[in-house]
């Protein structure tokens, strides 16, 4: 998103095809919200991407989720409506302000959108964010489609201002990314009410916080009553049945699956899923023979219902992992009722897996090819496109935990190593955006505590995995306007890395990279190797002329395939006997001229010099100006 985003006049149509994320953005804008912040993270990214195209609202890419929540809190203290969005694991990062802002409360309406990756399309875990509503004693809404996402965000701002607390809107990937028809309205502008000094409320020292904790518990009771009467919680009576009547308690995308699979069943749809409307649940339980909670991931609602003394089924018959589509629900309920099972579906044909790949000319390929050629190393990885370095053909990452953990895990490995690992070289790999998100403190910790690690900072000038958002690394703000561009050399030196231990290497120059990594891993100190090349999906990347393979010269050695470029294809394989008598398989290749963007990495390991430019000079991309 390097180009300047258009500040579009809002569409005046009332019926739009909107994703859940776009619907949230629309409602945030219409609510009169003044400040909105987020760090990109699948599946929540598009909320701020959509919001920044609206006029009359301040939006920012924050460097992490904790920052985004604090920015929203500050704006709310001024009496402005505010908003922050994050993925489920981002809420862990923001948990620190969350657990105290529930004591201070808010002034201007504040909504927190949290998007869980149920099914784990693009995350390191499948945690259930609904726990945080309980943990922080805050109300939570759960939309089931884009229209509800839009409606609930507007309702959440109202509830937030009525009770002076932030309100969660909990999405899942199946809400964020589903596009459906939604009716929208127009923006209502609001003027902030102004900051009111009140140290007992805003300065959370123990004496003040102690007085606010009882208020939080009182509020729990009030919100429980709100939930009992909320129009967001709907009891759908269903049709009478002669045999056993099964009733469902459900929320979010699971509601749509229940309705699809059991169109006539009584259903309590929880739009406000915390606090639970226990009286409504008791009313449903009294009407049905069997009560089933259909909730994705953890048995949270189920346990709370059981704790209230109501007999209920849930995770005893349903999976604790992934989505609960009709093809999972129907057989589970059939088993519960001892009904005849449906005939099994036709098996899916066996086809090779197709994992995501690094792009042609991706600078990470140079890094991982080089790491794959080094022996006796341990590589701590991190979260981003470059996590793909753990896959084929590189197999070059040994750990991935969470945003920013590469440096600190590597540092801990260094301090924890025994005699068996004394000769191992320990490296950390992290992208520019992850480093600014949560990596900088770890580097400071490593230099302060005299670590012996080599940190590869993969600077591609963008948040790549989430689609190429702007960051302080490319010097553009969320709308594409110029912003200060961070100087990584100065930054890492300021964090205690000795100037002579900071090396800048072009990741396309693999032999040089190999040499520099060898040199720096031999030195017992924290070294930083900065590799800059722009992400190929950004405007900063300039493709060069494609390469081709001279069939006469190609010996089938297959070295180029190990670079891992998706533009290289095998044309034929042959068995050959080496002079040593060993049988080897030769793979002769071609380069797809449309996919190739001319980085030239594949020709570096090519033994017979069989790879050459199609025609004309190679355009050598400029190294980053410092």
């Amino acid at each position: 998103m390097a180009a300047v985003a258009t500040i579009a006049p809002a569409p005046s149509q009332s019926r739009l095809l909107l994703s859940g994320n776009e619907a949230v953005a629309r409602a945030v804008w219409e609510s009169g919200c003044k400040v909105a912040a987020a760090y990109p993270g699948t599946p929540s990214t598009e909320i701020l991407e959509a919001l920044c195209t609206y006029p009359d609202i301040y939006t920012e890419w924050a460097v992490n989720e904790k920052v985004s929540m604090e920015v929203a809190l500050g704006a709310s203290m001024m009496g402005a409506r505010s908003f922050c969005a994050m993925k489920h694991v981002g809420l862990n990062v923001a948990a620190d302000p969350l657990m105290t802002l529930t004591l201070t409360g808010t002034v201007g309406g504040m909504v927190i959108a949290v998007a869980d990756d149920v099914g784990m399309a693009s995350s390191q875990n499948e945690q259930d964010s609904r726990f945080y509503a309980r943990f922080a004693h805050l109300p939570m809404f759960e939309p089931a489609d884009s229209q509800e996402a839009y409606d609930m965000v507007l309702a959440a701002f109202e509830l937030s201002e009525q009770h002076q607390i932030p309100v969660f809107v909990r999405m899942t990937a199946r809400i964020c990314h589903v596009k459906c028809v939604a009716s929208v309205g127009e923006r209502v502008a609001r003027e902030p009410s102004g900051f009111v000094k009140n140290a007992e409320r805003w300065v959370m020292v123990p004496a003040h916080a102690k007085r606010r904790i009882p208020l939080m518990f009182e509020r729990d009771m009030v919100l429980r009553e709100v939930s009992e009467h909320s129009p967001l919680n709907v009891l759908e009576a269903g049709k009478d049945r002669p045999d056993k009547q099964v009733g469902f308690v459900t929320s979010g995308p699971a509601y749509m699956h229940v309705r699809e699979a059991f169109p006539d069943a009584p259903v309590l749809k929880l739009g406000m899923s915390h606090p639970l409307p226990l009286d409504m649940i008791k009313a449903l339980a009294a009407k049905v023979d069997i009560l089933v909670v259909v909730e994705e991931v953890e048995p949270i609602v189920e346990n709370e219902i059981r704790a209230a003394g109501i007999a209920v089924h849930g995770k005893d018959i349903l999976p604790k992992i992934g989505e609960l589509a009709p093809e999972i629900l129907t057989p589970a309920i059939n088993r519960l009722l001892n009904n005849e099972p449906a005939p099994p579906a036709a098996p899916a044909p066996a086809v090779f897996p197709r994992p995501p790949t690094l792009c042609a000319s991706c600078p990470h390929m140079g890094i991982y090819y080089t790491l794959s050629q080094l022996k006796n190393i341990i590589v701590a990885g991190d979260i981003g496109c470059y996590t793909l370095g753990a896959g084929h053909p590189w197999n070059a990452l040994d750990t991935t935990i969470c945003m920013g953990a590469a440096i600190t895990v590597a540092h801990g490995m260094d301090k924890g190593r025994g005699a068996i690992d004394k000769d191992k070289k320990i490296l950390a790999v992290m992208g520019d955006s992850t480093f600014m998100h949560m990596g900088m403190q770890g580097l400071l910790d490593a230099t302060y505590n005299n670590s012996n690690i080599t940190f590869l900072l993969l600077d591609n000038g963008t948040v790549g995995m989430t689609g190429g958002q702007n960051t302080p690394a490319n010097g553009l703000d969320i709308r594409g306007n110029p912003a200060p561009r961070i100087d990584f050399r100065k930054l890492v030196e300021a964090l205690g890395v000795k100037p002579e231990r900071v090396r800048e290497v072009d990741p396309y120059e693999m032999p040089k990279l190999f040499k520099v990594i060898r040199e720096e891993t031999k030195i017992e100190a924290v070294s930083v190797i900065i590799g800059y090349r722009p992400c190929v999906l950004t405007d900063e990347f300039k493709p060069a002329r494609a390469y081709h393979v001279d069939e006469e010269k190609c010996t089938g050695c297959g070295n180029c395939i190990d670079v891992g470029c998706p533009a290289i294809h095998v044309t034929r394989r042959e068995k050959a006997i080496k002079p040593s008598g060993k049988e080897v398989e030769l793979a002769f290749v071609r380069i797809d001229p449309i996919a190739c963007t001319g980085c030239g990495m594949c020709l570096q390991p090519c033994a017979p010099d069989a790879i050459m430019q199609v025609e004309g000079p190679r355009i050598v991309a400029r190294l980053r100006p410092v």
């Binding site: 459906c180 994992p355 995995m465 999906l537």
Partner: protein, 206 residues
Amino acid sequence: MQNEITNILVCGIGGQGVMTATEILAEAAIAEGHDAKKTEVAGMAQRGGVVTSHLRFGPKVLSPQIAPGTVHVLLGFEAAEALRWSAYLRPDGLALVNDSRLVPPVVEIGLYDYPADPIGDMRAAGIRTVSFDAATIASNLGDLRLGNTVMLGAIADHLPFSADVLLRCIEARFARKGAAIVELNRRAFAAGRAAAATHTKEEVTA
């Protein structure tokens, strides 16, 4: 009351325009007055992985996900991907498949085999399959990126509404890019329509 829902599954690889094509199909369904939901089962957010886009439309759509065995039309942007998702088709369903192949690095490094004849495997399983080379059709029109409009042309005569509705949505989508781009997409749409018609005829006479 009958709630007749049409299920269309579009499959391919990240970067081919699967999601955009499905979104245009959804816009056409909405223009015809249907309720519609479109959802992706996409891997990580970048290129090269498996992408499927589910489109359901009718009087009122609940679950956005299509259940296996209920797809009316499978629109396959790549041969092996069409085979991968073919079990989602109803017994009377139709597969429209671009038979050009995109071979991933895991196959090139020798870890897995690409199926010898994915289209043949689908037909052998009793699936009505119409295949054509959308990549070559697009390249001959001057730009491989026209491939998804070719695919939309292919499905245009297999929808419960007229091809013109779909074409108007494509034109609207590209209107901002100028008359020349709109015209190219019109030609790609017509070429895809013709290819599907020709190969459907071959299917019937074969």
